[in-house]
């Protein structure tokens, strides 16, 4: 079996992996919360999320909190599955190195 099988290209970037891990344990999170937690700029976070959205791993909800625009993100079923598979691949890789 190929040692690198099961790795997800979408999670090669550590920030995307972090975004996904946070969304897997939380139902939904606001843009600003993610920004503060990951210590990213607006543009940086937006582009990483866009990439995950393209893979259909993350879904976006846009609405209003009073007059303030509010953007929330959550992990899709496909995203959670992909994250699990990616973790299993990492585990597998580390075990084989021992």
């Amino acid at each position: 079996m190929d040692l690198l099988s099961g790795f997800d290209k979408a999670f090669e970037n550590r920030v995307r992996l972090q975004i996904m891990s946070v969304l897997v344990v939380n139902e939904e999170l606001e843009f600003n919360f993610l920004k503060e937690l990951l210590k990213l700029s607006d543009g940086n976070l937006a582009s990483h999320i866009k990439a995950l959205e393209k893979e259909n791993y993350v879904q976006v909800w846009k609405g209003y909190n009073g007059r303030k625009p509010l953007t929330k993100y959550s992990a899709t079923g496909a995203g959670k599955l992909a994250f699990k598979k990616h973790l299993a691949a990492i585990e597998n890789f580390i075990n084989k190195q021992k």
């Binding site: 690198l4 790795f7 090669e12 550590r14 992996l17 972090q18 891990s21 946070v22 897997v24 344990v25 939380n26 999170l29 606001e30 919360f33 503060e36 937690l37 990951l38 210590k39 973790l87 990492i90 890789f93 580390i94 190195q97």
Partner: protein, 209 residues
């Protein structure tokens, strides 16, 4: 791509993010120590009010159901509560800022909600019992409801807080079994246990930083 150390860094960052995004990790051991000290001060004040110069295990000079005494005790308890909550906010804020985490976030709200539901129910219940003159229930009920609140909060902050919750519940039940020593149990539960827990948490998570 990737070697083992890279993946280990990946895993560490995943764990860190999951933890920070789902648990309120800004709770400081110092708030525990201060809450304990305030509670001990309150206990000593109450002792002088109702037992002095006898031992707190012995005979009382005044009845707690005299309304002037009861009022003073309630006032002292309220002061202890306010001082503890304020120091809790202060040290949590300080710790959050020091570790670069948002002070007021969805996690903070979830943590507060989990602790406030049992606590407010308990406070209302105890208030009603006081109005009915049912005084001996106050100390055990304070400890019980507080212990339940901490058990509940264990889902959203350091899980060690559950041990503190279990001990408070245990003390509450013992104090219900042996009425008349409410002040001793109250001082042990809110004073000594808080200080011990706060010191443990501080040495475990904060003293190295």
């Amino acid at each position: 791509m990737g070697n083992t150390t890279d993946f280990q860094k990946d895993l560490a960052s995943i764990r860190d993010m999951m933890e920070k995004s789902s648990r309120f990790v800004s709770l400081s051991g110092l708030s525990g120590i201060f809450a304990g000290l305030f509670a001990l001060a309150g206990t000593v004040y109450a002792y002088f009010l109702i037992y002095y110069p006898n031992s707190p295990f012995g005979f009382r000079f005044v009845y707690v159901n005299q309304s002037s005494v009861l009022l003073k005790l309630l006032l002292a308890a309220a002061l202890v509560l306010i001082a503890s909550v304020l120091s809790g906010f202060y040290f949590s804020r300080r710790k959050a800022i020091a570790s670069g985490l948002p002070v007021w976030s969805a996690i903070t709200r979830r943590f507060l909600f989990s602790i406030l539901v049992p606590l407010v129910s308990g406070a209302v219940f105890i208030g009603l019992m006081l109005l009915k003159g049912n005084l001996e229930i106050v100390a055990p009920a304070c400890l019980l409801f507080y212990g339940l609140a901490l058990m509940n909060a264990g889902n959203f902050t350091y899980s060690e807080i559950r041990v503190l919750g279990a001990l408070e519940i245990g003390l509450g039940l013992i104090s219900a079994w042996i009425p008349g020593y409410g002040l001793i149990f109250w001082g042990a539960g809110f004073g000594l246990l808080h200080i011990a827990y706060g010191a443990l948490m501080y040495s475990r998570y904060e003293s190295k930083h």
